[in-house]
Each structure stands twice: as C-alpha cells, then as structure tokens.
C-alpha cells in the first residue's frame, strides 16, 4: 500500500456551515476509513481563496475540493496552472480542462419528497421557505420543494424569503418568524436558523443539506439530505485511475446514486403521506419520475 492520496478541502465558510459540513463529513469519513489524507482550511475569503488552492497544490495535494461560486474565474486559472492536481469544485459553471471538475448540490429530489409530506401536513395551506440568495442551486431546491407541496396540496400558498447572506442564523430565524406571522405553518429551512423560528412558534420545519432531526427533534420532521460521498468517491476513482477529472460530477448528487435522500421522522408524519411519498421515492430512484430542475428565481 503506497501513500494515501492527500485531499485538501478549502472552505469559504466555517465548516459548521451546512453545505461545507457535508463536504467535511464525507472527507473526514474517507480519512477515517484510511482511503485519503485530509487537510483543510475554513473561513477562506474570496481574496485568499486562489492562494490557498495554490498552496495546497504546491503542498502535495492530489485533489483539492472546494467551492468556486465566488471565484469561478480565479479557480479555473489556478487549475490551469497546476495541471497535475485535480480540482473538484462546487460550481454553477461547467468543468474546464482536464483537471477542473465541478459538481452541483442537487438535493432537489429529496426536497420534492419533503414538499409532498409538507403539503399533506399544512393546516393553514401556507408554507414558507427561507433561502440565502437567489442563486440557481438554491432556486431549484426551493422550486422543487414547492413542486412537491403542489403535488399533494395544489392550492397551497407559498412564501419566500432570502436573507441576502449565506450565514446569519438569527436573520434566518427572523425571516422564518416573519413567514409564520404571515400564516405559514411549515417552513422549508434552506438556511440554518429557520427551524429555530419554527421551534419557537411550535410549528414544523424541513431541513436541508444536513439532518437537523437531532438538533430540533420536535420541530424538524424531514430533511432533504445531501451526500457528498458519491461525488468524492467518483472523483477520487478517476484521479487514481489517471482519468481526466475535468468533468461534471453533478449526476452523483442524484438520489439513485445515493447523492441525496430524504430523512424523516415517521412518527411525526401521517402514515398515508408516507406511503405516497415512499412510492414517489422509488419512482425517482428507478428513473420513472424525474423531479423538474427549475433554476429560475421563485417568486
């Protein structure tokens, strides 16, 4: 057994941030299994981001994992200058060259399923969603949730709030409270903090990306969980096999690959809603049903 490949994580936010925590969890799991050596930096500002990428590239990392959203051009520039290193970046853009691979955070299928449950559970017929800023991946997530709601409760009213920043839980909480005040009795919390509002007012909430059930046991009844592991595994496999890694790894986000799934607490959900949802889940996995990808800004 040779040396373990060194994988670097470059996190623009602290790793507690839900999205980063998914990358971090997958990378740490891999490191614990002994497949990789994992190093990381967190809270890296856009100005520093390219430097940190370069430092890892020069420091012997074979794969650099991170997020290119705020630095799409710069990140690609770095990749071009370090052709021997693979870069795997969350991005809304396309892969570039042989070594700049991208992935999208497509847990919209799970969000759809959570929406179906929500549609059955809402009493007021109003559901809210709190997002960061209207970028395509957040848009598609919220749109999918709404589509799910619409399937089980076609007349539902939807409230949308963007907090204008990626990480401000108290603000997300205020936005959530505002929606509750406006009549929502189920909140889709794309951002952490939303569920706190639901908890405070005794209504139910849906989590996104990570599983919030243990954090809000009586509030969060379902989560649209996203798993980074399949993407990481695929990219690592390509890298070890010597294949180009400059490709779009987003398909590994899909439910059939294990890239996303719903995690829910059965005791909090009506049984008939579960059955209906599980059926849809199977349909998605088998390819019989495809959740629409709608990246337009929800209004």
């Amino acid at each position: 057994q040779g040396v373990k490949p060194k994988v670097a994580g470059v996190h623009a936010s602290p790793v507690e941030n839900a999205w980063n925590s998914r990358l971090h969890a997958a990378l740490q799991a891999a490191a614990e299994k002994g497949t990789i050596e994992y190093v990381f930096s967190e809270g890296v500002s856009a100005n520093d981001y390219p430097r940190v990428m370069r430092e890892y590239a020069e420091g012997g990392a074979v794969l650099v994992v991170g997020e290119a959203y705020a630095v799409e051009n710069e990140a690609r520039q770095v990749a071009a200058e370090y052709p021997d290193v693979a870069f795997l970046m969350g991005s809304s853009g396309e892969p570039t060259g042989d070594n700049f691979g991208t992935f999208g955070t497509w847990n919209h299928e799970a969000a759809y399923l959570a929406g179906m449950l929500s549609g059955r559970m809402t009493q007021t017929g109003t559901v809210g969603a709190v997002g960061a800023i209207p970028i395509p991946e957040i848009n598609m997530l919220i749109n999918a949730f709404r589509a799910g709601v619409a399937e089980t409760r076609p007349d539902a009213k939807h409230l949308i709030g963007f907090i204008g920043t990626f990480f401000d839980p108290p603000k997300a909480r205020e936005a959530g409270l505002a929606q509750i005040d406006a009549g929502a009795d189920i909140l889709f919390g794309e951002r952490i903090g939303t569920a706190d509002a639901a908890k405070e007012r005794g209504i139910k909430a849906v989590g996104s990306l990570t599983d919030y059930t243990s954090r809000y046991p009586d509030t969060v009844f379902a989560n649209a969980v996203w798993n980074f592991d399949p993407i990481l595994a695929a990219a690592l496999a390509d890298k070890t096999a010597g294949n180009p890694t400059g490709k779009n790894y987003t398909p590994y986000s899909l439910m059939k690959e294990g890239g996303n799934d719903i995690a829910f607490t059965a005791s909090m959900v009506p049984a008939e809603a579960i059955a209906e949802m599980e059926a849809k889940r199977e349909a998605i996995k088998s390819g019989a049903f495809e959740v629409a990808v709608d990246m337009s800004e929800p209004k």
């Binding site: 890296v44 856009a46 100005n47 430097r51 991005s91 395509p136």
Partner: protein
Amino acid sequence: MIVERRETRPLALVVLSPVIAVAVALALAGVLIALAGAPILDAFRAIAVGAFGSRLAATETLLRACPLILTGLAVAVAFRARLWNIGAEGQLYLGALAVVTLGFSNPLGLPGPLLAVLLLVAGALAGALLLLGPLALRLRFGVDEVVTTLLLNFVVVLLVSMMVEGPLKDPLAFGWPRSVPVLADAQLPKIVERSRLHLGLVIAVGAAILVHLVQSRFVFGLEAKAAGLSPRAAAFAGVPIGRTLVKVALLSGGLAGLAGAVEVMGNRGYVSTDLSPGFGYFGIVVAMLANLQPLGAVIAALFAAAMFVGSDAMGRQLGVPSFIADVTVALCLLTMLLALFFSSYRLRRG
C-alpha cells in the same frame, strides 16, 4: 503618572522599538499557537517560509501588500492633515464600482491600455469624491468625520451589494452576486508568470514615492500639515484651509479609490461585496505602523501582508486554526502602537 514627549528620539529606540513590538506580538501569538498544541519554533519558521519562502509565497505577499500600500497611503495623507478618514474601505469599494461601471464595455472602442489608464483615474476620482462629502460636512457644519466616514463604508458596501444584485449583475455568474467583469484588455497585466502578482504593485510603489515627494517638498505638503495641526493659525498665515483640505481629501480618497481600481483591474476582474477583506481598515494599521510616512507605508504594508500570508500558511501547515493570521496581525498593530508611543514619549511619575 505623566506622559512626556521626548524631545530627541534616540536612534536606537527608533530602530529597536518596532523590532521589540514584533517580537512581543509574535511571543503572544506563540502562546496562542502553543494552546493549539503546535510547536512554536516550527510555527515561526513556517510563518517566514509561508511569507517569503517560495515564489508563490513571495508573490502572494506582494499581491496582498499592493492594496494595503495604497490604502495605507490614503490614511497617512489624511491623518497627517488631521483629516480622520476612516472611510478608505468605502472609498476603495466605490473606486472598484466605478471601474466596473465604466470598464465592462468599451463603447468608444478605446485601445486597452488607454482604457486602463482612464479606469484607474475614474476609480481614484470616485474614491476622492466620496471623501468630499464628509469633508464638506465638517467644513460646513463642523461634523466630525470619523463617524461619517466610518458609516459611509457600510453605505457603500450596501450600494455595491445593490448594484451587483441589480444593474451590474453578471448574467454569466449563475446568480452569484457579483458584477460583470472589466474588459480583459483593460485589466492590469501580471508581472510575474504563473502568479497573481500584477502591475498594481508598481503603481502602488510609484504612488508612495510621489506622495513622499509631495509631503516633504511641495508647498501643498507643508500647507496641508499646517492646516491639519492648527486650522486657525494656518488660515491666519494665508493657507486656504478649505481648499487645502479639499486637496487632501481628493488625494486621500483618490488613493483609496485607486486601491479598489487596482484590486479589480489587477486581481479580481469584477466587484463583489467580498472584494476587500478589510483593506481599508488595515490601511489604518499600515499608516500607523508607518508613522504616517509614505515610504514607510510600503514597508508597513509588506510587513502586514507578510504577517498575514505567513501566519495563514503556518496555520494550514501545522493544523492551527487559520484565524491565527488575523490574530497575529492585530497583535502586531497593538504592540506597534505601543512601540511608536514609547519611542516618542516617556512616562514619568507626576
């Protein structure tokens, strides 16, 4: 206890005090590093290597120094005339915004270099104009500019946020809030291959030399100093206070605006609300470390940049939380403030 100004500043003190300051700051940072369980000496070595030890390290240090030189100059120029410009951050952003607004297209078909020069001027002008507001309030109503310039920083960043989510939003940025890029041929060329280091460094150092000459040799430099120290006496001597402060403000705001222009045109290519990790505020650090001397600002900016880049790399290497970089720079500022103080004052019991 009485604070007493030293009439002579012993050379040894002037030279030694910054050294002692940095040593103390590093020692304190060392304690924190030790808390994280990392070996301290290795950590210090890693800081040095991380700042200068490779081509990447050196160019990154210089790259980070570049806007710091300019904002440091902006602050030094203003502070010397007792114009408390805390608004370099906002001026930087407004400069950047101006550059992007005028530089994302080229309706007149200007040649690239000419457009670049015009954009630099436009950036400087935007920053300059922003400082005129607080200055006017001070001259007209006696409103203290510390608070107004500070507050305008947040206003401008919100304005940038509004623009990059609105009219200037890059349609190709997948909804990410950032502006359209400046045309490629109006961007500043890189001056070291395979690095981020760009022509802005030359501009910044040139600006420092120019400011040095202006302050030490020019009539305007002396008038600005006089106006800052005592507006009444300067007015009596015939120094046009308003006009002089306006010039100071134009120069100071202009330098900060230039920092924004250079950062956009040389480094990032577009503007967003995360363009600056506090370059404007660090400019105050730089200016103070430089004792408001323009050429000193170059060295101080290099120092601050090296501390940051070096500690950041160290943190990565030794598994110390990366926030150690900012802690170290902040410690350096505080100890350096003390060192500067003790090199020109002494304490005596009353």
